[in-house]
Symmetry: D2
Subunit: 340 residues, 4 copies
């Protein structure tokens, strides 16, 4: 089997995990990752023996790399010219500049949620609008919260036809080890409606969505409550069935020991998952309550890793590796060892 | 004017603030407060010159009080036998034992939300069911979150007739200076539905309520999102009008600088409020969004002080000082300098 | 008695407290405070009835003030031209620009610790080098941590002659209500030696000082351990006597309920102190341990309010209101009701 | 080579990591782990296919295990009777009871730091007093902080002869995912001297040690400042050399990106270390400062995993697998892939 060739721009929180995820896909070849400076993550890459080739976005830190003995495989253009598709996980605002390089070399790209929407032709989610990505040149993935919310809402929508969602997003404010952002003993409100609700409507235009977002001073994942309405009454049993059969959703309970976001992180570490990462979102069975004809539930989003599967789905769509959504996501899941 | 005589059991977070609040009521006399040990709060009371007389629940720490030179006015029964009503702010589970003393002396009492419901004849909220408290012997106040939620929902209910609410309670896990409880870098889910939703239905039985509660590692107040339904469509303008006219609700915005719960605490300190306390809840005007015919908004609850006004309302009801709710709450507001 | 006239530049965390503190001095007149925009603190000033006149640094937000109905007493130059001394609590880097206005009007000024040292002629501490400030035109106060450290070290130095200190500064990273800075689930090291150690040596050049600073995600005050050496052996009793007699040092213990920084904040709130502020630093008696001939102890710094007394001492020095340090600090303490 | 047989009591934070560490030792066989209930960690063990056999301490949760389909290999006594040594990582206070079972079966044991000291014959550290453990029946390991402090102090002691240390321990208050303990926006002081200083003196009686401990609301590792004295002057270069050559110490700097405790955790995750664990402590080169003849520096302790290597050293000592400390620790390091 001929493998498609993939490059990664930006070896930060998302870029590293994209690299790990792509490396597991048997029908893809990870050509390399591109970054700028010898960050902690690059130093760690070096200490573990350079499993991925490193390309430099520019020469601004070249001397440091030499002094540290970190091997450099080439320039950013060397990388781009040698791949079929780039996964762009550069900091927000850089992707639009990188796009010029992708265009020049006729290479497709998938941008992450931090980039502005007009960077891409298609705003993409692996389950909810896979077909929109087929053959597209430039995709932008939904953000971490939106990706998880859509997974859950799409699961219900397929079974019951969802018409309205009202979200309360309790957002972790920084990733573990992140010293650039932070909040200390404070909750912070965003003006409503939250962008996640607006983004959901772009992907699923038949749904009326709104939401309120509150930042909280924690690092181990977002928690979200969803109130969902259908044209029919939704029961707890109904939605449990939908969630239980979804490969990228874990249904858990407090009685099992899942007390909150930090329990998921602990569980993934105890599982031995690299970096303590989970690809699945969580839904608490004991959070599901009926409200009139509507249903309300609480979910968990592992912000560092959640977009990896849907981004890899995007490669399959953009490069026309697989036309059928169910087949494509199933293949991604299988290589990522997301099993149910 | 003959003043009614009031005693306080428990000089903790709530007890102190009840004492301060009662002391401001010109038609009430604060006879004293009862506690057990020379806690930090009792030491502070002593350092500021014993503005309130102190009674001892028992003699277990009597020698310490003597050694510290803190004057003791008498026993718990001395206090109870000398008042018309006790405000019981003892730790959860103690109130039911104190009730025996109140009964013995034929003294009425108002318990705080931490006590079990069967301690009281009436579950009480100053606005939503004032008349139920008229002449009652034993009232139990709604908890801090429920008190605030009901204030906001009752405001809308009076104007529009509310039929359903769905709550997401983002709860502060401990008070400032509280070393007994705590959460570190973790959000914790409670099993749904939250007790606040159930309690709301007890006070407002015509409303269908449910809710999900998430504990967060902060100290400066709860934040809650409310989705409310009426038989009519609710608009942002509608609900703003209701909130703006309510004396115990402050309508604020992010543009003014109210970024989250900690902004309210800062603002109250800057106002020079004793202890940095506010009696009002907050509603963010820029959080209000329409969801179909429903309305959604975010509010703030100052957990340490919010139940003070409604507890004082309860004194007026239980002792038949005022039969009319609007008159009673207006009097409380006036003495507490809650002005709008 | 003719009162000296004082103005304040910057109505933030420090500026507000300087205003409150100066207003209590019976030999000083607070002419007004200057700021720029209708911040939360200015809105609070307005809501409490403008106890201090407000001057505008420039007209950039004038329309907002008009729309809000907040009265403006004049321009920055109006304020400066009408005072004997300015207390500059503007954000770091602004003071040096303000100094041009002070110079133009021949007005003295005291800058806070955030400003660069060369803004001033004298680096000042009310106890440790009072006489250096006598008649000086431009003073810069030590920062909050340094002010508190020097208070404690100076107390020991007077009694025992301190030769060396080694500091570990466990720093609160943000003030309550501060959304501009923050740290989430992380400790952050500063490169050693910390500036506080260097600053101490500038004020007390006979002492060899070094220190390591670690930022922690809390808001209610710094905690510092000090290892101090003398030419003689220091005992726990020795240092307790020094600390106990110092009016701006509170000696406390865990057994009393002072468990950490948050206990002090709670205690000050329970005392009814405006904003929950303390002017004193704390030393835990049960933290004091001997290490060979040296002594080690832990102290508490209320970062928002600690520099207020020493800044007011600075007014007395700069304006030659009192030549003797003991008299000057005693007067400041008396008006601030710091009693021992 | 005949392998020694090892069992683990308690599959919590430490027990899991002991199991992983022992499993890597080519001269040891991990017979199994014992626990009580289907905790999250046991559920994770099951989900990853039971790499270790599970024994049940008692039958109190047997039905749950059956219902979940988690295989049970036998009873606690089945495990104990089948091993040469038990590593007891049960919650504090349980080890002393387990010891009766170990005695009955004539099996040696190594207890963790949470157990009281009289549970063991020897208080043990792999580097500082290896020979004391030779052939001993019951060892107790130093606690996580003490283990790391002694590593660093022993490194200096070997080269320069340390006479005095003064510690400031900035302690993380809970592990990631720990919902049982917590602190919110508060620092908490322990009464001095801290037990770590006392414990150090038990292992290294020629050193005079004291220390102050402050709990902080973070989860990703302790940070400690050490002031160390020798009979000679200690320079930064001196101590850097000692630290650089120690296999279980990583020397890092802020310039590399190690900003604090959370950077180490991030780095270990980026390295792909299971659970994001490091066995090494960290010392910041840019924290090292001279104070007179003494040296002061800041170090990092990965509290979840640090005691694993020294506990495994203890197996080698107790079972007389290796009489020489350097050989023993080198073997442990080699199997754990601690390379320098």
């Amino acid at each position: 089997m001929k493998k498609v060739k993939v490059g990664i721009a930006g070896y930060g929180t998302i870029g590293q995990r994209l690299a790990d995820g792509v490396a597991l896909q048997e029908d893809m070849e990870l050509v390399g990752v591109a970054d700028l400076a010898p960050t902690l993550s690059i130093r760690a890459l070096f200490e573990k023996g350079m499993p991925y080739d490193l390309y430099l976005v520019n020469d601004s830190h070249l001397e440091e790399f030499k002094a540290l003995g970190i091997p450099v495989a080439g320039s950013f253009e060397d990388l781009v010219s040698n791949v079929d598709i780039m996964l762009d996980a550069a900091p927000g605002g850089i992707g639009i500049k990188n796009k010029e390089v992708y265009k020049k070399h006729g290479v497709k790209a998938i941008f992450q949620g931090g980039e502005k929407s007009d960077v891409a032709d298609v705003f993409f989610h692996g389950y909810a609008n896979y077909s929109a990505g087929l053959g597209a040149d430039y995709l932008k993935l939904t953000s971490c919260n939106t990706t998880g919310i859509i997974r859950a809402v799409d699961a219900l929508d397929r079974d019951f036809g969802i018409t309205r969602v009202a979200l309360t997003i309790v957002r972790r404010v920084a990733d573990p080890g992140d010293y650039h952002r932070g909040l200390t003993n404070a909750l912070e409100l965003e003006k409503a409606p939250s962008h996640q609700a607006l983004d959901l409507m772009e992907i699923m235009p038949h749904i009326s969505a709104t939401g309120i977002l509150i930042h909280t001073p924690v690092t181990h994942g977002h928690m979200i409550t969803v109130l969902a309405s259908s044209t029919q009454k939704l029961t707890k049993d109904d939605v449990l069935k939908s969630f239980n059969k979804h490969p990228r959703i874990r249904v858990v309970s407090k009685d099992e020991g899942f007390l909150g976001n930090a329990s998921f992180f602990k569980y993934a570490r105890d599982l031995g998952k690299p970096r303590g990462d989970l690809y699945e979102i969580g839904v608490w069975s004991d959070s599901i309550v009926e409200s009139g004809n509507d249903i309300m539930f609480a979910m968990y989003i592992p912000q560092e890793s959640i977009t990896i599967p849907e981004t890899i789905d995007g490669i399959r769509a953009a490069l026309l590796m697989e036309e059928n959504q169910a087949e494509a996501t199933s293949l991604t899941n299988s290589y990522l060892k997301i099993t149910k």
